[in-house]
């Protein structure tokens, strides 16, 4: 867009046309105070805080030319009244006088604050926002010292009102800026907040069931300029100035949202330093300034009571606490003894450094990645390249999402892809069921589960959708494992990779394949060389097993059985899992909050996380435990310095070439400026001072030659009469080890339930909410039925991590459970 030059407070400013005056001033380093305006939201002009004087060149009506004064300069005509800087776009020759130079603007803003405070309770001492509150800050900076209004006429409204179990509302504190409503409507696309009444009585309501039913609800508390919306998690947790901040990365999904953990020493926790809250940290290329509620509220697993504090060893059939030396000695002895017959099983929860050490440790013995989703080798080849940013995608670009319910699997990707679609990108959503993203899709493809490969192959052919994809300037494919097991997702990845290659959508920025992995660092594990195996139970049977960070026994009884028959089991994990119960030696590890490291996101972005709280008990970081174990077995690994391990990675893997810890900690200026120190746009979001991370290069980007495997066309499973096709799907809030310990989410997690189309359920005589008996592959279970009209008939969705071990599509029979009288 063309640039426009204007004068703000006697300062010449050149900004792109269409910029709002308030943003233009901000870019020139001049702060115009705002409450309702937020650089991420469309302007609303509701609070009147940003009143400024605006003058425009006077135009001759006849000629349309600017009228000149005696000095030969354009005559500026000021509006008789103050205008809002947040709703006025800049224009050529405009002259703006903010509160810094205009007495009138100063008086206007002062009056606005005075009005806002007529209904504000001023209970800052007990308000969770006190200390990081825009209203406090701007009142100090621009408000009057005293009010002329009578206290008795203050508004009396509900003060302690839980909108749901996650967010509390204080209606008296609300200044009716509608930032939360606009966030829910425009950014989250879930209009569950609204205003009721009008004028001074206007107040926020939420009618959804459960209350404030949005997975992005926590963000409204960040952008609320007052203490009206607060999280129940942090309610009276601490005053903001008492908190320490530590930068980190969310470990819940492959998006890799940048976070800040706030900690404080706490008497309730026996004087330990504990995490008090989690807030987003700005990274415009990853999560902007948002995060989902899972990341915000489900971190409690790191302080769960099940955490392992000391090494344990099986003595007389029971696990007993032992010293690190004893545990490591035994583990090393046994693993050496069965060297030729040993397996290392790792999870994508681990950091890159852990996985690198583990991979070298495993050496030529079998090294398995614990996952049911394949294709990571292909994302290394044709994955996204340097500079990729979904936030840049728009008109002319295409995004294809297949076999992934992003809303449940990677909420922030969902949010950003939705925004890209709204900017004009062609969004193609292909899935076996209706998904929330469908609403924003340009094209929706509904296939029968099992036809994923065919769907992609069709996109290589001739159709309107195929054409749109091929002709797109840039194209990304997000593929997942919705309804797929390892074999299916591996084939799907191959099909997608081939499609990208054929349409020449590889090797450039904003082009390539993205895996929607079940865990945070699955991509990193693939990069390090770990691969899943088709038959895990077989791979574990009768071996000496070293399991790091995975809980196969907790997920699948068949794997538990296999582990029971293993020769020796070493489990290295953060907490006591079902797998750990079966171990001979347990080595306590540290979660990412207690140590440093790096994760590789699904977009193949390597990002650093930093220690947040001191280590729990005697736990140690995974890479160092592995190094100590290796040393006993005669392998020398770096076990104390993470930057050194990372340097080893950078030297041995071409994708990591040129990266190091310093590079990952680099930060460039980001727009909008929303740091904590910035009281105008900021509020409570965290400025990123600790690294934006860096993309790995893909083989396509490096110009390497490679051959992509052809997609294996698996014959789709079609159930017989009386059977259902059961497919595994991911639910945002599940009973997995990293979510279940968040008590706050218990209501949203709910009980295990299979989803059926109402008609299918009707045929089986099962109504919504009823319990049925299901049997599949020789196993049986009792679960509830949930009906969902977005499903195809004859399909049963089985949520992962809910205690039903279904790792790939299977046939399933449903019988009504015996009624309990």
């Amino acid at each position: 867009m063309a640039d426009v030059t204007l004068t703000i407070d006697n300062k010449q400013v050149t900004v792109p046309a269409g910029t709002l005056v308030v943003d233009a001033a901000k870019r020139a380093g001049l702060d115009v105070p705002v409450f309702c305006y937020h650089p991420k939201l469309e302007p609303a002009g509701m609070c009147r805080m940003c009143l400024v004087e605006i003058g425009r060149p006077m135009l001759d009506r006849a000629t349309g030319k600017p009228v000149l004064d005696e000095a030969g300069e354009a005559k500026i005509q000021f509006m008789p009244k103050l205008e809002t800087a947040c709703t006025n776009p800049v224009s050529e020759g405009m002259v703006v006088k903010t509160q810094l130079t205009s007495e009138k603007a100063r008086a206007g803003q002062k009056g606005t604050v005075e009005f806002l405070l007529t209904s504000h309770p001023l209970d800052c001492p007990v308000c969770d926002k006190g200390g990081e509150c825009a209203l406090q800050d701007l009142t100090m900076a621009h408000g009057p010292g005293q009010s002329r209004f009578l206290f008795d006429e203050k508004q009396r409204l509900a003060k302690q009102l839980p909108l749901g179990e996650l967010i509390w509302l204080d209606r008296e504190r609300c200044i009716q800026c509608a930032r939360c409503i606009r966030f829910q409507d425009d950014i989250a696309g879930e209009s569950v907040l609204g205003f009721e009444e009008r004028g001074r009585m206007m107040q926020i309501v939420s009618m959804s069931e459960p209350g404030f039913d949005s997975i992005f609800s926590g963000n409204t508390t960040d952008i609320c300029p007052v203490g009206a919306l607060t999280t129940s998690d942090f309610r009276f947790g601490a005053r903001p100035w008492e908190l320490n901040a530590a930068p980190s990365i969310c470990a819940q999904c492959p998006v890799g949202c940048n976070l800040t953990f706030n900690t404080r020493r706490e008497a309730k926790a026996d004087g330990q330093i504990v995490i008090k809250r989690v807030m987003p940290r700005q990274n415009e290329q990853v999560n902007e300034i948002w995060m989902c509620d899972k990341g915000r509220f489900a971190y409690h697993y790191v302080e769960s009571e099940k955490r392992l504090t000391r090494p344990l060893m099986r003595r007389d059939g029971k696990l007993a606490k032992v010293s690190w030396k004893a545990a490591l000695d035994l583990a090393a002895e046994k693993l050496s003894e069965h060297k030729k017959n040993s397996v290392t099983l790792v999870s994508g929860r681990l950091s890159n450094e852990d996985l690198y050490n583990l991979n070298i440790f495993a050496g030529k013995t079998e090294a398995i990645l614990y996952t049911d989703m394949g294709g990571g080798d292909l994302t290394s080849l044709v994955g996204v390249s340097d500079g990729t940013n979904i936030g840049d995608m728009g008109k002319g670009d295409a995004i294809l999402v297949i076999a992934s319910d992003l809303y449940n699997e990677a909420p922030i990707w969902w949010l950003r892809i939705k925004a890209a679609a709204e900017r004009g990108a062609t969004l193609i959503v292909a899935g076996g069921r209706a998904a929330k993203l469908d609403r924003f899709a340009t094209f929706t493809i509904r296939y029968a589960y099992g036809d994923e490969i065919k769907t992609i192959e069709d996109l290589g052919g001739k159709s309107k959708i195929a054409e749109a994809f091929r002709k797109a300037e840039n194209a990304l494919i997000f593929y997942g494992s919705d309804g797929l097991g390892l074999a299916g997702s591996t084939s799907l990845a191959a099909a997608c990779a081939n499609l990208l290659k054929e349409t020449n959508h590889i090797g450039r920025r904003n082009n390539g394949l993205v895996g929607v992995w079940p865990r945070v660092n699955d991509q990193g594990a693939w990069e390090m060389g770990f691969r899943p195996t088709a038959d895990l139970a077989e791979a574990l049977k009768g071996k000496a097993v070293y399991i790091v960070g995975a809980d196969p026994a907790g997920d699948d009884p068949a794997l538990a059985k296999a582990l029971k028959s293993a020769k020796f089991v070493v489990v290295q994990d953060i907490s006591m899992t079902a797998t750990a119960e079966l171990a001979d030696v347990i080595l306590p590890a540290q979660p990412h909050t207690e140590r440093a490291g790096t994760f590789t996101s699904g977009e193949r972005r390597v990002q650093r996380f930093y220690p947040v709280v001191p280590a729990f008990g005697e736990s140690r970081p995974d890479f160092s435990i592995t190094a100590q174990l290796a040393r006993q077995m005669g392998i020398i690994l770096e076990g104390s310095s993470l930057p050194i391990v990372f340097d080893f990675i950078a030297h041995s893997l071409p994708a990591f070439d040129g990266l190091n810890y310093d590079r990952l900690a680099e930060v460039t200026e980001q727009w909008p400026m929303v740091g904590r120190g910035d009281m105008y746009y900021g509020g409570t979001t965290y400025e990123n001072k600790d690294g934006l991370g860096a993309h790995l290069s893909s083989a396509a980007q490096r110009g390497e030659t490679f051959k992509l495997p052809a997609a294996k066309n698996v014959k789709p499973l079609r159930p017989k009469e009386g059977e259902l096709l059961a497919v595994p799907v991911t639910q945002l809030y599940d009973l997995g080890n990293t979510v279940a310990s968040a008590e706050l989410l218990a209501q949203r997690i709910g009980a295990a339930a299979i989803s059926l189309h109402p008609e299918t359920a009707g045929k089986l005589g099962a109504a919504d909410g009823e319990t049925v008996k299901i049997s599949w592959n020789g196993s049986q279970s009792e679960v509830r039925v949930r009906t969902d009209e977005g499903l195809a008939a004859g399909v049963a969705l089985v949520p992962r991590s809910f205690g039903i071990a279904l790792r790939e599509p299977m046939t399933l029979t449903v019988k009504p459970a015996k009624k309990v009288k």
Partner: protein, 184 residues
Amino acid sequence: MSLLEPIIELGRGLVITMKQALFNPVVTVQYPEVKREVRPRFRGRHVLKRYENGLEKCIGCSLCAAACPSDAIFVEAAENTDEKRFSPGERYASTYEINMMRCIFCGFCEDACPTEAIVLGDNYELSFTNRRDAIYPKEMLLEPVPSADMTTPRKTEANVFTRSVPEMKNPKDWESGDTVKVDT
């Protein structure tokens, strides 16, 4: 020099001493048997005050801790309910500790307190033999309840004690310098 001179000098000195000892008021007291009364603005050990109805004035806002130049105060807050109420409003101090080793008795905490809950009292007997004893928890700092049925926490009538900070009836209250009216 006569022989008498030193004796005379001695006598004169003694006269002055006797004058001071017999006719001037006594300024010392026999501590610890006798305790000196302190001045009204003396700053001794802190006391956490209560309202007349027995509810704690402290709302756990931590502003005293923020104001404290020697970081002697530690506060943690929790939520009040009508079933189990400590103080008016939604918030009370679940932990309140002052480290008397650190305290410099500057009175900033008093100034910072929005409810006049913390007051430097007249107790100056703060010796201890164990460093741990120098940390005064909330139970030691809280004023005793006016009567036995006014202990905290206690069950209170619903929707009565909704305000944490006492209300000013009129902004002019400030100007006249009157104490803030308490409406609990």
